[in-house]
Amino acid sequence: MTQFIQLLVAGLALGSLYAVVAFGFVTVFKATSVLNFAHGTMFMLGAYLTASMIAERDIPLVVTVLVVVLISAAIGAVIHLGIMRGMVGQALFTVVLATIGIEIVLKALIQIFFGAEERGRVDMLPRSSSQVGGVVIAHADLVLIGCSVLMVIGLVVLFQRTTLGFKMRAVADNLEAAKVVGINPQVVFMASWILAAVLAGIGGLLFSSYGSVVSLDLAGIGLRVFPAALIGGLASFPGAIVGGVIVGVAEQFAGGYLGGEWRDVAPYAVMFVVLLVRPQGIFGKKEAQRV
């Protein structure tokens, strides 16, 4: 039983990280219908920047956060302005393939710029833990969950209380109607890309202290985001969060009860089950297809 609870807590921590990243992924999808393959690389960029600034150069946390946010935002903007904007009207899968291309480019740039060796972890989170009735709970996990909750609250505020958030929701719900009302979709698209990139970057920043190493494998985390988003329902914000948490928990349970080699397939196994029962995901809506 203790193992169960401990795995659960660890799963929640990992899952909350995934949730934040998945959220960004869904943001882009809801606004622009683009499935961003490069999301994981932006995550990785955040981690690398953090590692190189904090671990190697001792730059204070606040500055690092600022830099990560700015650079991620810049990349998001470039992707929108340079590439996505010019591809309006092309078939969807073309755009997805373009994001695959972006992923490859970003990963290569990171490798060239930062070097191919891995870096050690960044020491931002506490290493202590406490015992609660025989269960060891790592403080780092609690901090992670806390940060993610704060970010989600921030996002909810953004979407519910700000004009920009309102516009984004409008465009996501009904593009034509939003245009009629005078909302400029380009602004919304750009905002979505920037937001997604920043979320991914912050996710990377948090991750660089949670995981132990920062290396090129981190782009694989981006792959975990896909099943998370699908489980939750692709165009649903609460779905992204729930999906992310489910994936994190599934991974840790698989690792604990089946063995480390099952961690990669666990999220997909859960996804298969969910999709068989409910092909649109937990919170997703069945889409009517327009002829």
Partner: protein, 420 residues
């Protein structure tokens, strides 16, 4: 119509020019040794090839290894080369991808026509190449790891101890720490790749034979970001006093992942691992309570350990681009250096016997049974089974920013069983 004809004419002309532009080959005699350009011996140089992952997977061990061989060749050239010629190293990066590995091999053997290949890495690349190497009859010196098939084919000259050798020494070391091999209650943690399974089986088998207890083996996914399930399970075992040593297979990254999870859950066990974890970063970046009891096993000596031959290396690389490997305390750099040493020695012997060709080099390599590398490695003896020249290893720990060798290579020779 006109355009097409003229285009055709241009094409033909280019092809003809290209064909005639082919260089003619020299085959003079320099320093008493006849040149043999089709096998890498020209009038000015003796060509060797290097192929492996300079970038990509396994780059963290292979890139310094490559640098080490490169540096040694430069050193050898500054000291006169061989038979009045310079040693040349032609290197190709395959990033661990098989297709590139195959293409690069063709290039080295048929286009660049090297005398031998020094260093070839990644079992996913060596395995496919073994049949071709046997056909081309080209020696491969110092491949990146020593697998079972490499022990069977006559053209591979292995400098790195096998997993069996490393397991032998690891178990002996753990036994020493605990006051007897029979006291060991060991677990393995390996990467979820086939060689990781191999490691687990060797440790299991050897530990049991030696009277110790093998408790269980854990897998770590190569993309794992944490080792929480493993740490939690270990925690349980520690509480029941069922485990007292960890034998780890992996690389620096996976080791750090394991350690940080262990540290999070207050699991403090001594660890001994394969050479893959043997980088300074593992010791300096890991949680101190674990790295205090951490050791790794290897057949090569990290630069911070004082050995007679180490001064030569340090003096030579000072002020060159290779200096950083000494600063990073990279044992893999020394690995590459030693590969260069064995290559040079074999080449010299081939020259002495009057046959500087692939076949001649092959024969010369077989005569190396007692090569002293000045403490940079154990004694290289290719007469061991499977041309396993480097089948000697010793444990290293870390203290005060430097590696500490636990004894000499000879001290640990007794632990090696050579049962393949």
């Amino acid at each position: 119509m006109k355009k097409r004809t003229s285009r055709l004419a241009v094409l033909t002309a280019t092809l003809v020019l290209a064909a005639t532009g082919c260089a003619t080959e020299d085959s003079a005699t320099v320093d008493g040794v006849k040149s043999n350009p089709s096998e890498g011996v020209t009038d000015d140089t003796i060509k060797f090839g290097w192929m492996g992952a300079i970038t990509g997977l396994s780059a963290s061990t292979l890139e310094p290894k490559h640098a080490g061989t490169e540096a040694f060749f430069e050193y050898a050239n500054q000291n006169g080369g061989v038979a009045g010629r310079d040693l040349e190293l032609i290197s190709y990066d395959d990033a661990g991808v098989v297709d590139k590995g195959l293409t690069n091999y063709s290039r080295l053997v048929k286009d660049d026509r090297v005398l031998a290949i020094v260093g070839q890495s990644g079992s996913q690349i060596t395995e496919p190449l073994i049949p071709k190497v046997e056909q081309d009859k080209i020696p491969v010196i110092g491949p990146g790891a020593t697998t079972a098939s490499q022990l069977v084919t006559p053209y591979y000259w292995n400098n790195i101890p096998t997993y069996q050798d490393q397991a032998d020494v690891s178990i002996a070391y753990a036994g020493e720490q605990l006051g007897g091999v029979d006291k060991i209650k060991g677990v393995t943690v390996s990467l979820a790749v086939p060689s990781g399974v191999e490691w687990r089986e060797f440790v299991d088998q050897k530990l049991t034979v030696a009277g110790g207890t093998f408790v269980k083996g854990y897998d770590m996914s190569t993309t794992a970001t944490d080792a929480v399930p493993t740490a939690l399970d270990l925690q349980k075992l520690v509480k029941d006093d069922k485990v007292n040593y960890i034998f780890i297979h992996g690389n620096s990254q996976s080791a750090l992942t394991l350690f940080s999870s262990m540290s999070q859950y207050n699991v403090d066990l001594p660890v001994v691992g394969i050479y893959g974890v043997g980088s300074a970063a593992t010791f300096t970046d890991g949680p101190p309570e674990i790295t205090d009891d951490l050791a790794f096993v290897h057949g090569f000596t990290p630069p911070s350990v004082d050995e007679p031959g180490m001064k030569t290396v340090k003096d030579f690389v000072a002020g060159t681009k290779w200096e950083k490997y000494i600063k990073e305390d990279s044992v893999h750099f020394i690995n590459g250096w030693v590969d260069g040493m064995t290559t040079l020695e074999a080449t010299k012997r081939a020259v002495e016997s009057g046959d500087l060709s692939r076949e001649g080099l092959q024969k010369a390599l077989a005569t190396i049974t007692d090569l002293d590398t000045g403490g940079l490695s154990g004694t290289i003896d290719y007469s061991r089974y499977g041309h396993n020249g480097g089948a000697v290893a010793r444990p290293y720990t870390f203290a005060d920013g430097k590696f500490v060798a636990e004894g000499s290579y000879e001290d640990w020779e007794g632990a090696l069983k050579y049962e393949y």
